[in-house]
Amino acid sequence: MSRHIVITGLSVLAPGSTDTEGFWKMITAGRSAIRRTTAFDPTAFRSQAAGEIDLDPLACGFGHREIRRLDRAGLLAVTCARRAAAEAGIAAGTELDPTRLGVSVGNAVGSATSIENEYVVLSDEGREWLVDQSYQSPHLFDYFVPGSLARETAWAVGAEGPVSVVSAGCTSGIDALGHACQLIQEGRAEVMVAGATDAPVTPIAVACFDAIKATTRRNDDPEHATRPFDRTRDGFAIAEGAAMLVLEDSEHARRRGAEIYGTITGYAAQSNAYHMTGLARDGNEMTRAIGLALDEARADPTSVDYVNAHGSGTKQNDLHETEAFKKALGDHAYDIPVSSIKSMIGHSLGAIGAIEVATCALAIRDSVVPPTANLHEPDPECDLDYVPLEARERALDRVLTVGSGFGGFQSAMVLEKWRGGRG
């Protein structure tokens, strides 16, 4: 039996805004939120630009105990989950059977900020190898295991069905949503709150990307620092963010008369078995992921109206995915818009894939393609239509989003306009 997966709620928290509509307004205006890092003093670091959220946990409805207990990644996830659930009308207290509600949270680096903060105290700023247990926070264990992010999300929406974290590096967001779709299709849940969160603007995460020169060094001009597909690009800006979507069986949505953003019709994840951080120029595994996702959607490559690119702003990525789009979509790749929102909100590691899926849903809703900011001098080897600087109006029936992550993960997801009427 075939089930259709529809999106009935979504919420985004990304740099430069405090809610979904603020986010959408900003990226469709082509504005970048990348700034000089404020989470800590970045002076000693190679890359000093970041995408940060001006989060006010009290204003987001958290009590002081939750604020103490939750890592920033948890605060972002729970905020988005509550908002998405409220929008979809499935918040705790509604008639939904909790055992039929699941949670799938994508995340790459866990509670990195809190883990590092704890480490600094317990090790006396790195002086003691035998860290001092007496200084530990009562919540250290939660920071230690990323499952706590799924737990907090489950508690926030009252989920008692399948709950897990999906942690496939920088494709985690797409993979967590793909996982959720599969659980609904198998009848293991009727509704899933699924998405991703990451809050990696912390010294150890910034330092590890410094070490491999993956992040931008354009520290004197952070706003224009991240330039996917531009000849002058020099890496991504690390960022924090989260997005949560409410996914459900279309029949279930119909029965309760829910509003529908769109439908997810295809998903695939592949490994490239090539290198932990490098990408082969041939783009073969991303090509394959796109092909499998389109097959699952029973969609011809020529029917894709927009590609939301990984577009991290590294040269190897730009060439890798440009090649994959050409191989997977053929000549049609030249005829459709391809854009990267990382040019505006940076790369929030495991979270960004979910933010990009949410972006696709909003793009379908409003018939608008968000642009690639800071793209003034296209790399001659990147010869597709990357929607430089300005958003475009375009009716979107079928869109594709892709992700690529350390560890060789390549993922693709297909979203479509819902033609089945309300619910």
Binding site: S2, G126, V166, Q270, A273, H275, F406, G407
Partner: protein
């Protein structure tokens, strides 16, 4: 997106890195003999800390198993995972090149990442500065590292995945690998979980769960279902399994399968203060329904065996509700190795497969007097012999994760 019909999914190869043995053979022999893998920490002096016992893999020489170039870029956890993966592929006599690189994928679980590696790099960062951080830190520390490194080493370009649910995640990874085969996305999957984080910073983080036993006698520290239960002992290691679509496995001249994975389910407990029952019983019932089995078909339950009185009581209540008091033999091999986070569930699946193969249930060790109220038939002290065809493996993770896997003997 559509669901394909459920396929027969076999386990054809086992890889084990456990405190009671490297490789399934050594692990199984030690387990049947009721061996003890729990001991005082050896890597550093645990004297300053509130707990000092762990299930450790001693004498593991990574250089003897892995190419030298992999050593600088891997944490201990990844070295153990790579060794387990290689064992499993060799055991299955599987040739990835022959099967097709895109037909073979990897799904693992890991809940603490490359912790010791990360500890060293954070130490350099905070004591010497960011320019001293290793180029490998960006991937050696994250939860996806084992899937990535295994797929690269064995050129497995099929689906890659990582699912995390604290101690329950290893079973969920097996569930996801099975789903991947069911959906026709791969013929062979390496799946399971391996965990290791016993540097001082990792150790203190483990202790922060608040449920680690402070006992100093290895024989008296982790006593699930016992009247004296007062916590668990963390362990390291885990298992990696080769899972294959049955027709594909039969088509190649590999070894006879160990068994089949026929059911999986996961559930979550209600939030604190919500007056609803915990989710373990539901996970058991859903997994059995997934396998198309009634409770009386189950010959053996490999328990989660928390070692914390209220959690033991919860598990015992779930078992009584499904199987009746003393209604099914219960096995707790974790008593020999401790709780291995994401590695625990897959290692227990190995135990279940070997128990079915050999018709013997290994004993729980160190158990004195069972708490009366539990009314569970815990196999203890001596192995119990008899024909076995179906086992249920349970795992729970802190916070409310419940997962169950049904394992059956291969079809004859």
């Amino acid at each position: 997106m559509s669901r394909s019909a459920s396929t027969d999914v076999l386990i054809t190869g086992l890889g084990v890195t456990a405190p009671t043995g490297l490789g399934p053979k050594e692990y199984w022999n030690t387990t049947l003999a009721g061996g003890q893998g729990i001991a005082p920490l050896q890597e550093f002096d645990p004297e300053p800390y509130t707990a000092r016992l762990a299930g450790q893999i001693t004498g593991f020489d990574a250089a003897a198993h892995l190419p030298g170039r992999l050593l600088p870029q891997t944490d201990r956890v990844t070295r153990l995972a790579l060794v387990a993966a290689e064992q499993a592929l060799e055991d299955a006599q599987a040739d990835i090149g022959e099967l097709g690189t895109y037909e073979c994928g990897v799904v693992t679980s890991n809940a603490t990442g490359g912790f010791e590696f990360s500890h060293r790099e954070m130490r350099k960062l905070w004591s010497q500065g960011p320019q001293h951080v290793s180029v490998y830190q960006c991937f050696a520390w994250f939860y996806a590292v084992n899937t990535g490194q295994i797929s690269i080493r064995h050129k497995m370009r099929g689906p890659g995945g990582v699912v995390v649910a604290e101690q329950a995640g290893g079973l969920d990874a097996i569930g996801l690998a099975r789903r991947t085969i069911n959906r026709g996305r791969g013929r062979l999957m390496l799946t399971g979980g391996v965990e290791s984080s016993f540097d001082p910073w990792g150790w203190v983080s483990h202790l922060a769960s608040g449920a680690v036993s402070t006992a100093t006698d290895p024989a008296g520290a982790y006593l699930p279902f016992d009247r004296r239960a007062e916590g668990y002992v963390p362990g390291e290691g885990g298992a990696v399994l080769v899972m294959e679509e049955a027709d594909a496995a039969r088509a190649r001249s590999g070894r006879a399968p160990y068994g089949r994975i026929t059911g999986h389910a996961s559930t979550f407990d209600p939030a604190p203060g919500v007056p609803r029952p915990p989710g373990l019983q539901r996970a058991i019932e859903l997994a059995l329904a997934d396998a198309g089995l009634q409770p009386d078909a189950v010959d053996l339950v490999v328990a989660d065996a928390a070692g914390v009185p209220e959690l033991d009581a919860q598990e015992a209540a779930a078992l009584r509700a499904v199987f009746g008091p003393f209604g099914v033999p219960v096995c707790a091999p974790k008593t020999m190795v401790g709780r291995l986070m994401a590695g625990g569930g897959p290692l227990d699946v190995v135990c279940a497969l070997l128990a079915l193969r050999d018709g013997v249930i290994p004993p729980a060790v160190n158990i004195g007097e069972l708490a009366e109220d539990h009314r569970v038939d815990l196999v203890r002290d001596e192995p119990r012999f008899g024909p076995l065809s179906t086992a249920l493996v349970l795992a729970r993770g802190a916070g409310g994760f419940n997962s169950a896997v049904v394992v059956e003997r291969p079809l004859s």
